[in-house]
Symmetry: D4
Amino acid sequence: MSEKRWSVYLSGEIHSDWRERIESGIAEAGLPVDLSAPITVHEDSDDCGVAIFGAEPDKFWHDRKGAQLNAMRTQTLIREADLVVVRFGEKYKQWNAAFDAGFAAALGIPYITLHPEQHDHALKEVDGAANAVAREPEQVVQALAYIISGRMPAVMSGTQAAE
Amino acid sequence: MSEKRWSVYLSGEIHSDWRERIESGIAEAGLPVDLSAPITVHEDSDDCGVAIFGAEPDKFWHDRKGAQLNAMRTQTLIREADLVVVRFGEKYKQWNAAFDAGFAAALGIPYITLHPEQHDHALKEVDGAANAVAREPEQVVQALAYIISGRMPAVMSGTQAAE
Amino acid sequence: MSEKRWSVYLSGEIHSDWRERIESGIAEAGLPVDLSAPITVHEDSDDCGVAIFGAEPDKFWHDRKGAQLNAMRTQTLIREADLVVVRFGEKYKQWNAAFDAGFAAALGIPYITLHPEQHDHALKEVDGAANAVAREPEQVVQALAYIISGRMPAVMSGTQAAE
Amino acid sequence: MSEKRWSVYLSGEIHSDWRERIESGIAEAGLPVDLSAPITVHEDSDDCGVAIFGAEPDKFWHDRKGAQLNAMRTQTLIREADLVVVRFGEKYKQWNAAFDAGFAAALGIPYITLHPEQHDHALKEVDGAANAVAREPEQVVQALAYIISGRMPAVMSGTQAAE
Amino acid sequence: MSEKRWSVYLSGEIHSDWRERIESGIAEAGLPVDLSAPITVHEDSDDCGVAIFGAEPDKFWHDRKGAQLNAMRTQTLIREADLVVVRFGEKYKQWNAAFDAGFAAALGIPYITLHPEQHDHALKEVDGAANAVAREPEQVVQALAYIISGRMPAVMSGTQAAE
Amino acid sequence: MSEKRWSVYLSGEIHSDWRERIESGIAEAGLPVDLSAPITVHEDSDDCGVAIFGAEPDKFWHDRKGAQLNAMRTQTLIREADLVVVRFGEKYKQWNAAFDAGFAAALGIPYITLHPEQHDHALKEVDGAANAVAREPEQVVQALAYIISGRMPAVMSGTQAAE
Amino acid sequence: MSEKRWSVYLSGEIHSDWRERIESGIAEAGLPVDLSAPITVHEDSDDCGVAIFGAEPDKFWHDRKGAQLNAMRTQTLIREADLVVVRFGEKYKQWNAAFDAGFAAALGIPYITLHPEQHDHALKEVDGAANAVAREPEQVVQALAYIISGRMPAVMSGTQAAE
Amino acid sequence: MSEKRWSVYLSGEIHSDWRERIESGIAEAGLPVDLSAPITVHEDSDDCGVAIFGAEPDKFWHDRKGAQLNAMRTQTLIREADLVVVRFGEKYKQWNAAFDAGFAAALGIPYITLHPEQHDHALKEVDGAANAVAREPEQVVQALAYIISGRMPAVMSGTQAAE
């Protein structure tokens, strides 16, 4: 059978350790997955544009230079992803996460959303175009293990991950 | 010269009169524009799915049925739009607006964002992929008048629309 | 607002009056919908190929000639549909209906399935890629009325259509 | 000459050993083929969704969660396949097999159907869009050997595989 | 039901009256078809390039200028056709007809070939990607009548058109 | 035969009357052509962005706002053009004209370049992807007359238009 | 600099040694090229379909089975080629070569035609969409050497290859 | 995390050492980048066509043969690039650079322009569709280091690169 490596892009929230939990879960499970993500150092993703291409007195253009530089990374990686995970944390607007979900949807790339129940109603359109809604990063790892190798979780998620 | 009618989709916030202001501005200016939009009656867009296809005890699936029904309208209209306007109001998560922006971006459909300055930083990625950032609906009308007919605004926007 | 006419393709079962019920429902509701469908005269759709291009002694090629002639109609109409309705009746294999659903899904065209509950499990993948699952043709009309005009059904479907 | 490896997706029936027969035929013939397939453990493909993302009291949503999880595997693998084989066994509805055929057809990916003669008429549209109709898995292996290396079968199929 | 007009491009041979026979057949049958075709005045299609853009001493570039001018017509019309008919007459190379067939095939536009039996073997690849093979223009008209309106031919083709 | 209207986009130089000459030539010839073009009032195309969305102290961003506003017009019109004419005048950089040519080429939209011989070498890549190279606007009209109706020019261009 | 391997598909005539001459020329020049081609054993490409899937009494369907089996090889390889070479020999109809050229053109894949001068006029449309017209296989090798590595031919082709 | 290699195409000016500066910067920084470019030996890119395919007395066709040969390299490499850098030097028309920018834009491939301030106004449309505008090759290297690895420049560009 095929030994395909799967490309999975991890979009969204950069203030908790969810990417690390997915990464270590994948390593532990020995899954053939190449993860990719935006630059997650907050200040760098804000200031990269002006640091490289020159300062801007107006914050609007300061942000623009950074956003367009970041987009060269993020849109390229999403375009070549097999699957996207879109994380919404408890705080912040996180409009770029929703943007990435729409971007993936239009390209026909399936995605899993990852967010607490409190956002369910506000995210109903984003969830409605998703192939799965996860609450915990470990569920994403379980989903990948199933998608790639057909492995079922050892413990049912009802027990393990509070939903 | 061509008498093309332009299809413009108005995405996002449903709690203020911005769509009406754009619509009446277009009527006043006599522009050949066909506007389209999501269903903007909030409760209907929430309940349409269960009203038609049957009640759901679980709010999550109640929302899902509605969201997927709404998506048949919104994604069809965005796909055939020439331009999209994406409005972020002062409150609410408005993740579906950002989703629509990403959807349009991936399809190569240009869009204008419309939001107050207070969101500039949080929306920098969404603005970074936009072709223009407007503060007031009247600027969208002026932009359409220019795009379609080359008409310049009577008064410079610095005066007219507080930016 | 836009006066878009919607193109809706009605795929699948040809032994009951579901298309007529949708058609008369649309007429009654005054919806701007252009319906299209495969040729629904069973013998003609079987024999069209040999009737036009010459008889075949082998039933396999008899069928092939008909199928490829029908495909020129069906695939063209699906490609230009805004929405597709895919009907599975109580009997028969109806593999062409599932084929049409997959065809629409790959093109990013949203579809509604229409079938009795008894098929739910066997159709779970086809339903899983659908934007809605209807039980009765009248629900499809209600869905179109909502999608196109935002009209909500007069009576909740829980009462009207047994689900 | 090119040493291309060919990606072949094996869609459909999961109750007989046809995939194993193709796999061992390919191994024996030493063909550079990477096979892929849906998860073929029936209960797992039914229950994967709820096992990972949480139980559902309603069988409809239980199925939905599984179907959409499975779709992340199947649609990704079909999209990157060079060729698809679609198997219809003697029993069951097998609508997902026909769905996959339509999905491949719309993407311009050639496919071979594999089914007994008894289904010929019911599958005429699905066969009509196929590049070949096989009766036995060994014919699929022979077809791959020819497609990839130009190797002709040792024995004519009229003798070897009852048709 | 939909009142779609069908766009049909008539590619290939320019020395017999097959286009006129299709055109008058369509008129007689009252079919909603818009026919299009290459420029069929042989000398003009050869000389158009140099007549407009200036003479060329070298026949090779004389031909090039004409061919590329003609291509602006033909490729535009094929791209927007619903169906293509590709005619191979009894004489001449007619490589442009085969080119058009390949062009349509790659775009997913169905086509009907129209040629005498004598070419069957040489055209097997071109026929193999076609949705039908006709011998007489009247069969094309019958096919269109069926595709568009479901009308079956009055007389079986076995009698009317020798195959 | 089809009564298709042809959409032709006129890209490039805005300092001479070439668009008017094409327009009046088309009118005279009675060709079914819908012309479109960028906004050709030079100052307006420079200042439109700041006039509508607010002044910018930095000329770089002043230009950016205008360019992106203009792009909403130009890219939309090019995308839906059947043919593009790209004019390079005797002076100026005219990089946007070459940009439009590349944009059309990547979309598979045929274009005609229109420029004096002095630019032939510098434009060889842009001409190399074109379907024709014209020297005078009247040749473009003649080309359209031929493409659309098969009409040959009354006088050979060798005489009429100095090449 | 990039060490890209180039995929080149060799379409067309199967009765002379042109493929071998290109292959040995590439080997001699040490170019990073992966060649691919249709099956070039004439009888096998005719009989492969019936040999594998069962005999057909009617030659028309005998050919069809072979052609559609061959198409699974040829269309897959053309789709993933960087460049295509299309060879027309001195004899035969060679419609499949022209078909392949049209197929490549519609996909935006550049191709080189390879044929004697005698076919220039009949092939003017096929040449008109090509990026080069070669007379000898060695010119194709030289073109590849230039395209891939910028290497210019040692001797000008005017001397070496009679044109 | 993913070890993706990035493909970057360097389009435009061939008279200064900007490509070498980017190449050595990338080597120094140890970035996983595969660079590609057009053939940069000026005379060869002019004469390659006639050197291989035979002399042309008319300079126009001499140029055409070269341009179309070069296009097989450049368009193939741009199509498979992740990112494009488009350089405009101080002199020359450089229309092919702008053509490449438009080509990339239409394909949705992000690009960085690289040019002195003096061209800012003339390049405003080309810059307006770019994701960044650089003044020095070292800024391109810094951008790649950030895009690929999130590395921020050691010294702010305001100091290092005069802007």
